[in-house]
Subunit: 218 residues, 2 copies
């Protein structure tokens, strides 16, 4: 067995754990009981060795000669990822992308509740969209504190993103998912991840242009 101590876990490992979990939930729906590292790898676009190594960073959860119990491994991964609870999320910016996120049920299914949304447009204030109340942007700090919100999503135009991040950080939010196409600075005790659709397309543009199949995991 393995220590599961204060090991430093890489971002790529964490991302793969999430992918494993997503796949395990699908297997659960299908009523599968056991799964091997080979099958997990095939379903998640990686290798059996990588799967076993990733899991071994946290303990030993398999049965030699048989594989992993789907349900047990699923719960284990949920625990590791901190998904044994629900998370309250603040959404800032209710434009095209923000509205889509408000109506996107997959978030709630996977444990993330948008508890409040904010927009600077007074016309939107007071509305309830997809069951979520829209507040004036001015009330961000107040509401985030009051509702003990720990995660923020920025879906504003890029010009406002940094200011919003500052306010979210100031209000005690520990992590931010940023959809604005800019890099934003936050204090060390806050984590940001930026999702930029056009940037991903640019990566694909490079691949198509250079003809270069980039280092591909099999």
């Amino acid at each position: 067995m393995s220590p599961s101590g204060q090991r430093r876990i890489s971002e790529s490992t964490v991302r793969r754990l999430s992918v494993y979990l997503r796949f395990l939930r699908e297997l659960t729906r299908q009523g599968r009981e056991l799964v091997s590292s080979r099958q997990l790898a095939r379903g998640c676009g990686t290798t059996p060795a990588q799967v076993r190594k990733d899991l071994s960073l946290f303990g030993s959860f398999g049965k030699r000669g048989r594989g992993y119990t789907v349900d047990e491994l699923r719960r284990t991964l949920e625990g590791i990822l901190g998904l044994g609870r629900r998370w309250r999320v603040a959404l800032v910016g209710v434009g095209k992308i923000g509205s889509a996120l408000l109506g996107y049920q997959d978030l709630a299914r996977r444990g993330f509740d948008i508890a409040a949304a904010f927009d600077s447009d007074p016309a939107k204030t007071g509305q309830v969209v997809s069951g979520v109340r829209l507040y004036s942007a001015e009330r961000l700090t107040e509401v985030v504190r009051m509702q003990h919100i720990e995660l923020g999503i920025i879906a504003t135009p890029p010009e406002s993103a940094q200011a919003v991040a500052d306010e979210l950080a100031g209000a005690g939010v520990g992590a931010i998912l940023n959809f604005a196409p800019v890099e934003i600075d936050v204090p060390d005790n806050v984590t940001v991840r930026t999702m930029d659709v056009a940037l991903e397309l640019e990566g694909l543009s490079f691949v198509l242009t250079s003809g270069d199949r980039m280092p591909s995991r099999k």
Copy 2:
């Protein structure tokens, strides 16, 4: 100087090049003429050495003692990334996320035109949304071929994603951006990138839970 030969470029390098480009465009708007690797690094969340190394994989574009010419480097990166042209994109699935993408002007600003959209709901067929014609999903192959579309975006429910990917690949699309929360298989000559919002939030959940500031580039 440097060969810019058939070097194998890592995905992380390509992603950073896109970030540099995004930042350079901002500098252009601001009228800045020169930029050093240090400033580029600060604005893009990386290190000066990393910036210089990334660029050196393709050539030498700077002036010793001065830095890089913003405009020149911007055009160089656009060339490297294959952005010296516009790309035609097919959008499949016009639900919450798909609709948001249809109205998201940043895509067009950065060179990606949604040339056609597809949905299996007959009620939507024939409509024109944000200037884009919506076709029945049955006409996907036909329209993609006719319009010489090279990129696909999947924004369908996860159950349909694999079938759509198969059809896009069959129709000659070389790269796919997948918003459905499943891993999809494609032939070797096609590249897929999956964007899963909940998966990113799970990564943040892990960080908040483990208290572990993951290996952070500064």
